[in-house]
């Protein structure tokens, strides 16, 4: 058998091609295989892609005939899917896989001597966390591959001021540096990973692959100015991330679940994380702990300044936390919110400071007010938009959608803490993301008459190391310039950053940059709009929900995105629809993979009649 043939199947090429333009990543994974056996064989195609990505295309090409994927409304796709499932003859689907990834899997039977090509395309907006963007690929081929290649390219349109992106750093952890080529031709950075067959072998005569790793590229853009606006074909995107501003002092209430289920490692990890967080708290900050089980207890009656003495006392308090009782989320959150509001009213905290509630729980409310919708209502009413709520869901056994929804409607977000050896680091990592607010009450303003279909343009906080991204459309594509103001409150003063966008000059520069995808900004706008519509939809009801759903669905279909509202269907029309592959968005439930009907993911393929001569 030729090298790289396993069970009759030779995967002779896999190419992963990633292109990042303006933080918007376009990824294409192409695998080509041939069945060298003398009977039909099953070929599998597995790709793990980020949860935040939207699949936009999948094609299956068998012996030169291409079967394209069609993005359809979920219900429409489901009908085809159910029919195929009922016949036991479907499907490809996507499952949640680990913390960051979803797994796309398709298997197809390939006739003897036939070739198959799989091509999956997905797109993602890379978000800046702690000062860097991260592009992540899981590399784990099942067998040796003659031509295996990962090529990534980070580029960005140069703007008239000529300062935009350049790749500043790389982190690669895979198979040894000798296999990786990095070339940087500013403003483009290119990384190529191309191991030979021998380099892939786990040992000199082995036929299995040693490639099993994370391919991570981290980079940041060269940012001389806090803002950058890019405009292409009437769509614009505005990136904003000021540097050099002092941190706004914060008042943090940690609302910690100490119910019985936290017993053991979870509580120990929580304590470890809190102790490390306490080391990083700045002296300007104020804090308090609210512990909840069946009852609610507080460390101090009101917020206290993070003086060295108080931090020492807080550490002692944290070390002595004991688990007990049930889970009273409602009363704990209301106590924390009231404490923050009172501190503001009574001027116990600095005038120029910002408040944050961070709740950690590992289960659903089961005492006091335990109806999630009522808790949400109470919390929303109590916070009244004054500060954000961040919910950390620890472990598997909780209603994450409730935490997510409650945080979103209070200008925060939820984060899942995976029950694992590094849970303490996950907790600390989350805190670091929100520990350095540089601006509060941020509002990005554009001239009303010139701009339409704006994505979210108000933010309660801008955190150091993150980035605000606003996209929209120009009413008049031929306008020559517009102005964008970003207003907010800093630690010491009120700030207004102004961007004067000269569209004629930008168009001139754009024409000189032939590497820019023409509709890149438009797709980025669509991605961001859909993402935000889906978030808003989580907390809407009735007609509003219907409208949001309709808008998100329309855009998902228009731009071919597989979102929670759509599915991608790959069919072979000539085979009487008995081959249906469905790609769905599995959502953020780690147990989802065992809930969805995963048993039906094999494509039944009737090999075509082929007359075929072989030398042997």
């Amino acid at each position: 058998l030729p090298e790289g043939v396993v069970n009759g199947i030779e995967v002779y090429s896999t190419k992963v091609s990633c292109k990042v333009t303006s933080r918007f990543a376009h990824n294409v994974v192409t695998t080509r295989a041939v069945n060298r056996a003398d009977t039909a064989k099953e070929v599998s195609f597995d790709v793990e892609l980020p949860k935040t990505a939207f699949i936009t295309n999948f094609t299956l090409t068998i012996d030169g005939v291409t079967y394209p994927g069609n993005v359809k409304e979920k219900e429409v796709a489901k009908k085809q899917y159910e029919k195929a499932v009922s016949q036991g003859k479907t499907a490809g689907l996507v499952k949640a896989s680990g913390r960051k990834l979803e797994k796309f899997t398709v298997s197809v039977n390939v006739a003897a001597g036939s070739k198959v090509t799989f091509e999956l395309t997905y797109e993602e907006l890379l978000k800046r966390h702690k000062g860097k963007y991260e592009m992540y690929l899981k590399v784990k081929p099942k067998q040796l591959i003659k031509h295996f290649e990962v090529i990534t390219c980070c580029c960005s349109p140069a703007n008239p001021a000529g300062w935009e992106s350049r790749v500043q750093s790389h982190t690669l952890e895979l198979g040894g540096a000798a296999l990786i080529e990095i070339s940087i031709f500013l403003p483009q950075g290119r990384v190529s990973f191309k191991p030979s067959l021998d380099q892939q072998r786990s040992c000199p005569n082995c036929t299995d692959s040693l490639l099993d790793g994370d391919f991570t590229i981290t980079y940041d853009v060269n940012r001389e100015s806090p803002g950058n606006v890019q405009v292409i074909n009437g769509y614009f995107v505005h990136f904003f991330a000021p540097q050099g501003l002092p941190v706004v002092p914060k008042n943090v209430v940690f609302v910690i679940d100490i119910s019985g289920s936290m017993q053991g490692r979870k509580m120990q990890q929580t304590k470890d994380a809190l102790l490390r967080i306490l080391q990083d708290v700045k002296e300007d900050d104020y804090l308090n702990f609210i512990l909840f089980s069946s009852d609610v207890t507080t460390w101090k009656e009101s917020l206290v300044q993070a003086t060295p003495q108080n931090i020492q006392l807080a550490k002692e308090f944290v070390k002595n936390i004991k688990v007990e009782g049930a889970t009273n989320i409602n009363d704990a959150l209301l106590r924390g919110i009231e404490m923050l509001k009172k501190a503001r009213e009574e001027h116990l905290i600095p005038e120029r400071s910002t408040s944050i509630v961070i709740m950690l729980t590992d289960g659903d409310a089961n005492t006091g007010e335990s109806r999630p919708e009522k808790i949400q209502e109470n919390v929303k009413k109590a916070i009244d938009g004054e500060f954000p709520l961040y919910n950390l869901g620890f472990g598997k056994y909780l209603n994450y959608n409730f935490l997510d929804s409650m945080a979103l409607e209070n200008n925060g977000f939820a984060r899942r803490i995976y029950e694992d050896s590094d849970a303490d680091l996950q907790l600390q990592g989350f805190y670091e993301e929100v520990a350095r607010p540089l601006m509060t009450g941020v509002e990005v303003e554009y001239p009303h008459n010139d701009i339409q279909d704006l994505t979210q343009n108000t933010y309660q906080h801008f955190y150091d190391g993150s980035e605000i991204v606003v996209a929209g459309q120009l009413v008049d594509k031929d306008m020559s310039h517009f102005k964008a103001d970003v207003k907010g409150h800093g630690a010491l003063n009120d700030l207004t950053f102004t961007e004067d966008v000269d569209l004629e000059e930008m168009e001139k520069a754009r024409k000189e940059q032939d590497y820019i995808f023409g509709n890149y900004i438009e797709r980025l706008w669509a991605y961001l709009t859909i993402e935000q519509l889906l978030d808003k939809r989580k907390n809407s009801h009735g007609e509003e929900k219907e409208n949001l759903t309709a808008q998100a669905l329309e855009l998902s279909l228009k731009y071919h995105f597989v979102t929670p509202l759509t599915s991608m269907v790959v069919t072979k029309p000539e085979d009487n629809d008995d081959q249906t592959a469905i790609a769905d968005k599995p959502g953020d439930d780690p147990s989802a993979s065992s809930v969805v009907p995963v048993m039906a993911y094999q494509v039944s393929y009737q090999p075509p009649q082929v007359t075929y001569v072989d030398g042997d």
């Binding site: 001021a161 300062w163 001389e224 100015s225 806090p226 000021p242 540097q243 050099g244 501003l245 002092p246 800093g490 630690a491 010491l492 003063n493 009120d494 700030l495 207004t496 950053f497 102004t498 961007e499 004067d500």
Partner: protein
């Protein structure tokens, strides 16, 4: 650096140079009543000619402070740093940004200038002069203008500050000088009789590259006789 003192009462201007070594910090304004001080640090050419007559010097760093509210602004051609107590905020000349806080407003106009106002009645403008990056001889440098100063007290002093108060001078005996295009004259000012030369300097507030010509009577020898004391009296050890 060149100094231009406009005298609206006479619809005329007086100018002088201060030639000092690069690194020297000069006190431009000091007002003990409002707490405002402005100091400027001198930079030279890239080549650093040892011949002080051939050498050109500019302001490369300005320090503007209000000691009453412990706020400081340090401006260089590279960046702008605002200090409130010990807490800095840093901005680049590529920002267009407006900052407001109690009694202070700062507006940075991308790659052009910044306008600093202390309440009503005191406004300074700092101009960024950029030279061609590959220019062999010169650095980027700064211009400093007082556009409004009526809230400054009568005790204000400094190379510029001393001229915030009304002062009188007289120019007579205009006669040809060594340069036929620049007549000399005698100026009577602060009880000194000085030989001055008619010349011109430029006001770059409206346009940092071309500027507007301002005719003035040039006082030689580091403004000696025009300024109070000697120019070395205005040298201070540090920007703040």
């Amino acid at each position: 650096p060149h100094f231009i003192i406009q005298v609206p009462e006479k619809d005329d201007a007086i100018c002088f140079n201060i030639d000092e070594d690069p690194g020297t910090v000069l006190r431009l304004i000091q007002d003990p009543v409002t707490g405002l001080t402005v100091n400027g640090q001198i930079i030279g050419d890239k080549a650093g000619s040892p011949d002080s007559k051939a050498r050109k010097t500019y302001f490369g760093k300005l320090g503007i402070a209000n000691t009453h509210v412990s706020s400081r602004i340090e401006v260089t051609p590279e960046k702008i740093t605002l200090w409130n107590g010990d807490t800095p905020s840093t901005f680049s000349w590529l920002d267009t940004v407006t900052l407001t806080q109690d009694g202070l407003s700062v507006k940075i106009n991308k790659k052009k200038n910044m306008v600093i106002s202390f309440g009503d009645g005191v406004t300074f403008v700092v101009i960024l002069h950029e030279v061609w990056k590959k220019q062999p001889a010169h650095h980027d440098f700064l211009g400093f203008y007082v556009v409004e100063g009526h809230r400054m007290s009568a005790q204000t002093h400094g190379l510029l500050g001393q001229f915030f108060h009304p002062f009188d001078y007289e120019v007579f005996d205009i006669h040809p000088g060594s340069d036929p295009t620049k007549p000399d004259a005698t100026m009577l000012v602060k009880n000194h009789r000085l030989t001055v030369t008619r010349g011109s300097q430029k006001d770059y507030r409206k346009d940092a590259s071309i500027g507007r010509k301002v005719s003035c009577w040039f006082v030689h020898n580091n403004g000696q006789g025009l300024i109070d004391g000697d120019h070395r009296d205005y040298i201070v050890p540090a920007l703040f």
